[in-house]
């Protein structure tokens, strides 16, 4: 009753595409940060450094892609960090310990990710655990299993021919494969989120779970599917991480989930669900990596880098709130 339509027809470009605006804003933020650092440090725009930024974006970025799906439903996935580690370790077990073929090992790593997602999804859907709790538990389980399975020692891929080339090689000269994989994964994630039932239902569930269920969508089943999709990205991140380091480091991973979530949030995805874009997440991940890199180049201590990232999260989300307030 608060609105009344006027006779004029409104074009969708001004009102309908608020998400585009959101991305433009995030992108503008990225440009500003980039501009600032290239001004502040002569080394920043060096290709080697930019490559470093892209590489640093890749693993967190891939995890953030998966997390975007879960966050779109209004859930949260805390298990992507240590889950990624478990996938690394299992890839190590498949390839280095069991000596399985490369393809099988990589697919095995992805499958472990999918399994983590499946368990998360079943716990959320059928045991009705809050996503925070279900994935917090999975975070701990995955961390513990990584240490148990690896005997707390890194697994090296030195004897697995070609594994380090997966992420470290350069199909396009000058651009590491890890970055290519990230962008390819982002493209796939973008299509899945905006063009398939999985993505559409994720956003619908995030908007209004009860209405989606009453509309005849089997919400419980689709939630499991969504968590499995998220898990697949976790698996991919694990494989890429292992390949980059040419080893599976069981002690790594804790805290990565928060960076991934931060990237998603900076990209304008609402933690309440219903609103999410992959492009936003990619930009968010780039902002995180650029910021860390630039501050390091300016010799700002690591402790202060964290403070800066925290402030950027607040600014990004507040800008989003301001903009929404104007439109409402």
């Amino acid at each position: 009753m608060t609105t009344k339509t006027t006779a004029t027809k409104r074009t969708p470009t001004r009102f309908g595409n608020r998400q585009q605006l959101q991305q433009i804003l995030a992108f503008a933020g990225l440009v500003v940060i980039f501009g600032f650092f290239s001004f502040a440090s002569p080394y920043f725009l060096d290709w080697a450094n930019v490559k470093g930024i892209l590489l640093a974006t890749a693993v967190t970025g891939i995890m953030a892609l998966g997390a975007t799906f879960v966050i779109a439903t209004g859930g949260i996935d805390l298990s992507v960090g240590t889950g990624m580690t478990l996938c690394s370790v299992m890839t190590g077990v498949f390839l280095a310990n069991l000596g399985l073929p490369l393809v099988v090992g990589v697919l095995g790593g992805l499958a472990v990710g999918a399994l983590i997602g499946l368990l998360n999804g079943l716990n959320v859907s059928y045991l009705r655990l809050p996503p925070f709790i279900a994935t917090l538990a999975m975070m701990m389980v995955a961390q513990g299993l990584s240490l148990v399975i690896s005997g707390t020692k890194p697994i090296y891929f030195s004897d697995v021919a070609g594994f380090d080339e997966l992420a470290g090689g350069e199909l396009i000269p000058g651009l590491p494969n890890a970055v290519l994989i990230f962008f390819a994964a982002a493209a796939i994630a973008g299509v899945v989120l905006s063009k398939t039932l999985t993505g559409r239902y994720a956003l619908s569930i995030g908007s209004n779970e009860e209405a989606t269920a009453i509309s005849g969508v089997d919400v419980r089943r689709w939630k499991v599917v969504i968590y499995v999709v998220a898990g697949l990205f976790t698996g991919l991140a694990g494989v890429v991480m292992a390949s980059r380091l040419n080893s599976a480091q069981p002690g790594l991973g804790l805290g990565y989930e928060l960076e991934a979530i931060a990237a998603v949030v900076i990209g304008g995805t609402s933690l309440r669900g219903g609103k999410a874009t992959i492009l936003g997440t990619v930009i968010g991940a780039l902002i995180m990596a650029t910021l860390t890199n630039g501050l390091r180049i300016m010799s700002i201590p690591q402790e202060w880098q964290k403070v800066a990232v925290g402030i950027v999260i607040v600014l990004a989300v507040y800008a989003d709130i301001l903009r929404r307030g104007k439109e409402a």
Binding site: T2, T3, K4, F15, A213, I214, S215, V217
Partner: protein, 501 residues
């Protein structure tokens, strides 16, 4: 001193003026989208006017927020409740103004004050009860008590009776009459003409964000008011000639046998025929919505559901939709709409699997279908990419209906299809349901408004306290008959009747 308010793409109020006199009840009526709620929100300080002024007893007034409006003596009871379900009744009423000693809240004093307030208002509620334990009517009473706990001079009520039964409405009216004094006034927003006639002294009509007229209630016929609202003559409650052959003679599409739930339903059995509109009447809490929810698998139940003679297992709404049963809930915001998504996404929601190619959603088709629906149902929206929360209640309801039309269910269960909707949109929805039935769809209409049931239904199932107490053919049914069946178990409250007799 006309007042105006615009929203992006929408001019909600244009040069509107009203005046409320001391000691009167002023009814504010108009179709959905007429601007009543916007006007209320201006008075309550929730919105600020773009142009125009407001005065309170001759002094300029511009409340910067709800709190300041309260302090000025303006209390608003909104259509939607703003209560904290886990807090007690008393805590809800005095939230933000809790009596304290040494900064600790004094719950005993809180409860005492709430108790006094209820005593004064004649409301039988326990201040210590959590709000979540109360019925909708009980929650409404808490809202009213909260509004009156301020020293209000102006009381504004938006559709206060939407969820109340007749006895509760009587209680509400008594409270309103008690409140009116030479220093106070009431603005009463409602769609229900009968109530407006009963409670108000004057009636102000808005239409499309414009002021139309103010009329003294006693000298104005209901027809005149409705004509001013919709700008055209409107016949309410006339049932079109029944279809021939009698739908009750046709084949059974949905058969329900022995539907029972742990909480309420006992042995509910009925048949729904092809092209038939089956009305479900009963008092609040009789179990009509529960029947619908049990059929679509939203709640657990025992019993047999057969679709076209075949027994089906419906464990969740997805199963129901697969078997061609759609449910349009009485609570469209909670169970009907994705409020922050656009018309296209809402209209497509139930039909997505059928609208994909190679796993990809065909958005262009969705958009085309949505446009078609907007035209067919006369949904008033700037475009199909408009977010549904920006639509008026009647248009939102049409969007939900469109969703089920696109899904093309054989059986449609509509629960209070015209709740909170103005007479014009009501009539459109009646016409739509009737024509759907004529096309061979089978429809169950659950409604608390007897004229609505009598207007729509071929047969009427009456429920009381979880059981079916009778089934009447429309031709021999009167409101009196239905009422008798609905109160067969001696329930203590009466159904709400609409304005047609």
């Amino acid at each position: 001193m006309g007042i105006s308010k615009s929203f992006p793409g929408v001019r909600a109020l244009d040069d509107v003026h009203i005046d409320l006199r001391h000691g009167e009840v002023l009814a504010l009526v108009g179709e959905n989208g007429a601007g009543k709620s916007t006007l209320m929100k201006l008075l309550a300080g929730i919105y600020q006017p773009d142009a125009g002024t407001m005065e309170l007893e001759g002094a300029p007034m511009s409340p910067a927020g709800p709190r300041q409006a309260n302090e000025l003596g303006i209390s608003v009871i909104h259509q939607e409740f703003h209560l904290m379900p886990d807090l007690t009744v008393a805590q809800n009423i005095f939230i933000g103004r809790e009596p304290r000693r040494a900064s600790l809240i004094r719950d005993d004093e809180l409860e005492r004050r709430a108790g006094l307030l209820f005593e004064r208002l004649g409301i039988p509620l326990d201040p210590r009860q959590p709000v979540s334990h109360l019925s909708v009517a009980g929650q409404q009473m808490v809202e009213i008590a909260k509004a009156l706990s301020f020293d209000a001079r102006v009381l504004i009520m938006d559709e206060p009776t939407a969820a109340l039964t007749e006895t509760e409405v009587a209680t509400l009216f008594r409270i309103v009459r008690d409140f009116v004094s030479p220093r106070t006034g009431v603005i009463y927003v409602s769609h229900r003409m009968e109530e407006v006639k009963e409670i108000s002294d004057r009636i102000t009509v808005l239409r499309d964000g414009h002021y139309v007229d103010t009329m003294p209630t006693a000298e104005t016929a209901t027809r005149q008011v409705i004509a001013a609202m919709v700008g055209r003559q409107l016949e309410v409650g006339v049932r079109p000639d029944p279809a021939a052959p009698d739908p009750a003679e046709r084949e059974v599409v949905l058969s329900v046998r022995g539907l029972t739930t742990r909480k309420l339903l006992k042995d509910v059995s009925f048949d729904l025929h092809r092209g038939e509109i089956l009305g479900f009447a009963g008092l609040m809490g009789a179990g009509r919505t529960e029947v619908a929810r049990a059929i679509i698998g939203a709640d657990r139940s025992t019993g047999v559901v057969e679709v076209k003679g075949k027994r089906v297992a419906v464990r969740n709404p997805a199963d129901a939709v697969r078997n061609g049963i759609g449910y349009l809930s009485e609570d469209r915001k909670r169970y009907g709409l994705l409020l922050d998504q656009d018309v296209v996404r809402n209209v497509m929601l139930s039909s997505l699997p059928g609208m994909t190619r190679a796993g990809f959603v065909r958005d262009l088709d969705g958009r085309r279908v949505a446009r078609q629906m907007v035209d067919q149902l006369a949904i008033r929206t700037p475009s199909v990419t408009q977010t549904t929360k920006n639509l008026s209640g009647g248009n939102q309801q049409k969007v939900v209906l469109a969703k089920w039309l696109v899904r093309d269910c054989d059986v449609l269960i509509v629960d209070e299809p015209t709740r909170g909707i103005d007479v014009g949109a009501k009539d459109e929805i009646y016409g739509l349901l009737t024509s759907l039935a004529a096309q061979g769809k089978s429809i169950i209409v659950i409604s608390s408004e007897l004229p609505e049931v009598l207007r729509l239904a071929d047969r009427i199932v009456v429920m009381c306290e979880g059981r079916i107490t009778g089934t009447l053919a429309n031709a021999d049914a009167t409101q009196h008959d239905i009422m008798e069946l609905a109160t067969r178990f001696g329930a203590d409250h009466l159904i709400t009747t609409g304005d047609a007799e």
